[in-house]
Every structure is written in C-alpha cells, then in structure tokens.
Symmetry: C2
Amino acid sequence: MEITLTGVEGLPLVSEGDDIAALIVDALKSSNMELLDGDIVVIAETLVAKAEGNTVDLRRIEPSSKALEIASRTGKDPRLVEAILEESSEILKVGHDFIVSETRHGFVCANAGIDESNVEEGLATPLPEDPDGSARRILGALQELTGREMAVIISDTQGRPFREGAVGVAVGVAGISPVWDRKGELDLYGRSLQTTRVAVADELAAAASLVMGQADEGVPAVIVRGYPWGHLRATGSARELLRPRELDVFRD
Amino acid sequence: MEITLTGVEGLPLVSEGDDIAALIVDALKSSNMELLDGDIVVIAETLVAKAEGNTVDLRRIEPSSKALEIASRTGKDPRLVEAILEESSEILKVGHDFIVSETRHGFVCANAGIDESNVEEGLATPLPEDPDGSARRILGALQELTGREMAVIISDTQGRPFREGAVGVAVGVAGISPVWDRKGELDLYGRSLQTTRVAVADELAAAASLVMGQADEGVPAVIVRGYPWGHLRATGSARELLRPRELDVFRD
C-alpha cells in the first residue's frame, strides 16, 4: 500500500470572499494535476478563516478586567486574551505563556486556536465559525468542479498535554468519518484488537502538516491519495474527535 | 513537494532474536524496492519488542495488593495491572477502564504502553527497554546493509487527553531530531512564526500509522520518502518529545 501526500503549489494569498475550491482546482491544473476519486483534500484552517473573512482586528478590542488579569499572568497582549475569552466556553488552565480553554466548538486547545501567523499585522484568525460546515461547502464546490468523490479535512496545528511540539489535527471534516471504530476486528493471533478506535482524520492532518510547513514557502492545501477510506464514507463531523467531558480524566 | 508512504509488505511474524533490519531489506527486495538516501523508516514498537524478546508472560505475574485494588476499580486483569505498575514511575489517573501513568522512559500514556494485540495469548508487549537505543541499532544495521543515509522512528499508537481515538506517535528515534524548532523564522507577512516547535517525529509516526493498520493485514514498517529533513539530521532522542514536568499544567 502506498499513500502520496502532494502539496498544492502556487496558491495565491487568500482574501475574504475567495473561492478556495476553485483556487485549489486552478492551482492543480497549473501543476498538471487533477483531483481523483478517493482523494482527501486537507486544508489549513487559516486559509479557510481568511477566505471566510473570519479575522479579528485586535486593535479594535477593548480588554475586560478578566482579560487584563490573565494577560498580566501570561505576558500576552490583553486584547488577544480578550479574543481568546470570547472564543472560549471554559478556561481549563493558564500557563506561563498560554491559555488552555475549551472553544465554543468544543475543542480543548491553547489560545482557543486563535492564530497570529500568516495574517496581516494587527489581525488574528480564530478557528472557522463552523469548521465542519466550511469543509462541507468546500467539498461540495470541489465535487461540483471535478465530478469526483472525495473528502475534505480542515486542519490546525495544535500542542498537546505531556508532549512537546505541535502536530496537525483535524478541526473540520466532510465526507469522511474522522474516527475508525475497529471494534470486533481481530489481531494477527485471532485476539480482539486492543486499540479499536483510531483518529484517522487527525493522522491525515498530521501527515498533511509535514507537507504544509508554516513559513513563507508554506503550502496550505495537501492532496492525500491512496488511503483506502471507503469504510469511513459518511457525512462526518470533527465533533466525533472530541472526548465527552464525563469520560475525560484530565478535567478538574 | 510530494511525500510517499510505502508499507513494507511481506514481513514474516517476528520472534526473539530476529534481525529487523535484514527482514525489512529482504522484504523490500521481494517487492523490487530498495532504501534510498533520505528515507525515514518507521517501525511499529510491537515488532521491535518481539524481536528483542521483550514480552511479559502475564500468567507468571503475581499481582500486588495495589494491583488488585486498581484492577477492581478498572475491571482490568490484575496481572496486567501489576505489569503496568512495574513499567510505571508514577500513576497519573485511573479511569474507568484504563490507567494513565508515566513510564520508566518518561512517556505519559495509557496502560504504560503495554500492548496485548499482535502477540501470542497470555503474553503482552511493553514498550522496548530503550526505544532510542533500539532505533539506533536498527538504523546502524540498515545503513550497514544498504550504505544509505536514513533515519529510523519507532512508533506506537496512543490515545491522548481531550481527543477521541488513538494516533501514531514516536517512542524512539535515531538519526533525526524529533522536534523542529523554527524559532526566528518568519511567516507569509514577515512576522515571527507563532508555532515554533513542530513534533515532526510524531507527525511522521501518525502518517505511517495510516499505512500500518493494526489487524491481520497489518504492515508494521513503513518507508517515508520525500520529506526534507536535512535540517533535522542529529543523533536525536524521543525524550525531546517529552514535556518537562515543571512546564506541564496537566499534572496535579
């Protein structure tokens, strides 16, 4: 089995209102590539947030007293802290230079997923309003343009507890179930498999992140080809990747 | 940029004393493939543990009273709990059917990384004694056999806090620094990058996990080709992936 991860080269800088699906199809055409049935298109959330005009102008934010207090503990810009508070439904931990919260979407991550990279000075990009919805819209447009059966994953780069360094994870999916439930399958020796739930969409996002990079040579969309995911064909939602609160031993 | 992930097909079931490097080179030859400079070979930890004879015979374990107590809370086999305790330097959380601990190596994971899949009934495979050392030995043997400059990553499939489903992570590395520190680099708009540390080895392990699967068609070794990692060339240690305790906000 062979999987290829191909960066979509030559995408322009994206602004509000741009049609990401059309930009991807055009960029691939310029590289003499086309989308095929079974491809999974992984797109960086920053690209989506910018195309949706979902940016926060930090210069216009008036920090609350709570934001000022947390800013003084973390050394972060109080306006950014205010933006994080507004994106969050619950603050879990305040570290020396980060805030771990649960976002409105239910993601537990640092700084509510608000990104200050790859956007104009003074602006920051929160996660898309509805990442699954964004993924579904882009998938619909890609299928309209190409007639192919595919899936779309919107990815972010996030840190994690206990391990250093950030990795790509899925924040929105369309056309694919993000978790592969293998309950009932057997191992090499005919015993029940121990790890029965695999976060395939996160593994796909991590794989794509290797190609994306993040700096001036950044490639914000990656085509994954050759991964057999027919058994995962579903509307899908990244919410399936979120551990229910009552099963989470790491919440106070 | 294009990365390919190719499963090493046709590896035999491995027993103690088997030479993994030779088995991989032979299996590739049977598929008319060969290793090339710049390849990264990702190997499932179960394969390494079995070749090293690092299995635990649960039938011979006498559970301690602490193991019996935790077993009664988790519904786990008391002998398996005892094996987990012996592999652990600290128990962090006991969940309804799992134990999160820090292993002797410093990994924070469920059930001390002890695996009961893909090994004979009654046995279980702990993580390799010294996963970096195992990776270095396999890399040395691969380089001896092929004359190529490569890296080796030993991977495991682990759950994580807050997110459902397991993903591939690196537990041992050789020839590559597992964390890419991008401090000082600039983004698309000339601003300092926000995410400066990327856990590349974990992303490589997650990517390889897509090919590995875990059941009877399982492929426990994967060749990653085309990922530019010249800037990460180093002896490397998976310990670089472990967050120092004092920086971890999720420890009590």
